[in-house]
């Protein structure tokens, strides 16, 4: 029992070390990679434009629900004028970075893990290495760099759309004065809230894309499955572990800022 626990702990520590090395080496590999900017732009398209609809849809409905629930709670205490503050702070501090990142992991992260997994299974990654091309520099670095920009940008969009959603349900449907709503937003949001929001978004982006890339890149390490099943297992693992990691890191960063 004790030895099993020890082996598991050592396995986790060694896995974390391997992941950290993979992420660090992928960043370093960017230094020697040519035509990197072109691939970063392509990655921004994958994590940005392609994921735009899901961010807009989830953002607007999150704002609508926050407006609706917030109004009924605040109205009990005669404070419905604070609806803008409630919606904006909930979105900026917690919901936008977390929900936008989870959506991006679901769409861009899973696609990345599956693509790299397939490339591993069909020897495309080995082929890059036989050509003298640093495979992490070519395949992973642009995705990591792009995530530092795309996740904060998508989070900002999520916040804007969410605020409009809150205004829609609060002002248009429930009768809170529009001016009161927006002035409450303006008074409540401080620079440190925005800083927390974007630090979280960039961190979630980097960690989750690195984790998805790591799982896909090493899809052949799975001893219980091969071929398409190994790719499917790597993709599932990538999405599940990234989602959990986002929530864990969210708590850690929130404690630091609060």
């Amino acid at each position: 029992m004790v030895s099993l626990l020890g082996r598991q702990t050592l396995g986790v520590i060694s896995g974390l070390g391997d992941f950290a090395l993979f992420t660090g080496n992928s960043f370093l590999a960017a230094l020697g990679s040519r035509k990197l900017f072109r691939r970063i732009v392509r990655s921004l398209h994958e994590q940005g434009t392609v994921c735009l609809p899901v961010i807009l849809i989830v953002g607007i409905f999150t704002g609508l629900v926050l407006g609706l629930q917030g109004y009924h709670v605040l109205n009990r205490f005669g404070s419905s004028g604070l609806l803008g503050a409630l919606v904006s702070l909930s979105l900026i501090r917690e919901m936008a970075p977390v929900l936008a990142s989870l959506m991006l992991v679901g769409q861009a992260g899973s696609a990345l893990a599956a693509e790299l997994g397939m490339q591993r299974q069909t020897e495309q990654i080995v082929a890059l290495e036989t050509m003298g091309i640093e495979s992490r520099g070519y395949l992973v670095s642009p995705r990591l760099i792009a995530s530092l920009f795309s996740f904060p940008a998508q989070t900002a969009l999520f916040v804007l759309v969410g605020l409009w959603g809150g205004a829609l349900s609060g002002s248009l449907l429930l009768g809170v004065d529009s001016g009161v709503y927006w002035s409450s937003v303006e008074r409540a949001v401080e620079a440190r809230d925005l800083r927390e929001c974007f630090v979280k978004a960039a961190l979630f982006g980097l960690l989750s894309i690195a984790l998805c890339a790591y799982q896909g890149f090493h899809a052949d390490r799975n001893r219980s499955a091969t071929g398409a099943r190994a790719v499917s297992a790597a993709t599932t693992r990538a999405v599940v572990t990234s989602s959990i990691l986002i929530l864990v890191v969210d708590y850690a960063v929130s404690s630091f800022f609060v």
Partner: protein, 267 residues
């Protein structure tokens, strides 16, 4: 460097490789002469692909020494030596291993784009030239998934030769092809080997085609080289493993004849 090394572009000594305690290569000694087409024959599971991947630095050998142009390669080699080797050697995978998200032109351009300091116009010219030489220029904008198996093979060869390598390693280039297409692939290798002057090292189990196209052949059996010589010597060899592998059709005919006359196997 000894005198033998200068005659061989690739020299392998005592190469061993195993997986999970199972030995696949049990000590291979082989010299690949500069120029010409050298074929390593062997039955399925003999370790041919593992041998080729060790040569290409894709797999790390457990023991042994690999020298390219007289300079040691393989275990613990200086990264600069490995990088120089990879610039001078190309590997053609059995599965072709083309990047399916890139077009044919982008696939061929990739090694030039990433490993040379050529400008965009030069890269495009050289890549189009390689595609033209392999009669693939009309498909430059197609993705690998839109091409037939034979076209993909030619595209993979175009990508392999675009860097003007001195050595090209072919892993089972005729696997899964019908006899006519097998002939076509060997003819293509022989033609472009003469055209570009590289040394070709092919691993395959297709005996007739290999004997016609190759300058030298070796037979890999149970992780060891049990024969090396010219195709004529291979055809005349009375080595039991060579004759068993070479004359497998005759053995099959004898087996079928026995079955036909066996009263216990009635229709």
């Amino acid at each position: 460097m000894n005198s033998a090394d200068t005659d061989h572009v690739l020299q392998v000594e005592g190469l061993k490789k195993g997986f999970n305690g199972r030995a696949v290569l049990r000590g291979i000694d082989l010299g690949v002469p500069r120029g010409g087409l050298f074929t390593v024959l062997g039955p399925s599971g003999a370790g041919k692909s593992v041998f080729l991947k060790c040569l290409a630095n894709v797999l790390r050998p457990d023991e042994g020494r690999i020298s390219f142009d007289g300079r040691p390669m393989g275990m613990g080699t200086d990264p600069a030596v490995k990088a120089a080797f990879r610039k001078r050697c190309s590997f053609l995978f059995q599965s072709n291993a083309l990047l399916d998200s890139l077009t044919a032109l982008e696939n061929v351009s990739l090694p030039l784009e990433q490993t040379t300091s050529l400008n965009d116009a030069e890269i495009r010219d050289r890549s189009m030239e390689a595609l033209r030489q392999l009669e693939m220029h009309e498909f430059a904008d197609h993705h690998p998934g839109e091409l037939s198996g034979g076209m993909q093979k030619r595209l993979a060869l175009a990508r392999a030769i675009v860097t003007r390598p001195e050595l090209v390693l072919f892993d089972e280039p005729t696997a899964g092809l019908d006899p006519l297409r097998r002939n076509g692939v060997f003819a293509m290798i022989a033609k472009y080997r003469r055209m570009f002057g590289f040394t070709a090292l092919v691993v395959t189990h297709d005996v007739p085609e290999a004997l016609v196209a190759s300058d030298r052949v070796a037979l890999l059996e149970k992780g060891r080289i049990c024969f090396e010589g010219t195709p004529a010597e291979f055809s005349l060899s009375d080595h039991p493993v060579v004759s068993g592998f070479r004359d497998s059709e005759k053995a099959l005919a004898a087996t079928i004849e026995t079955i036909r006359h066996d009263p216990l196997v009635s229709p």
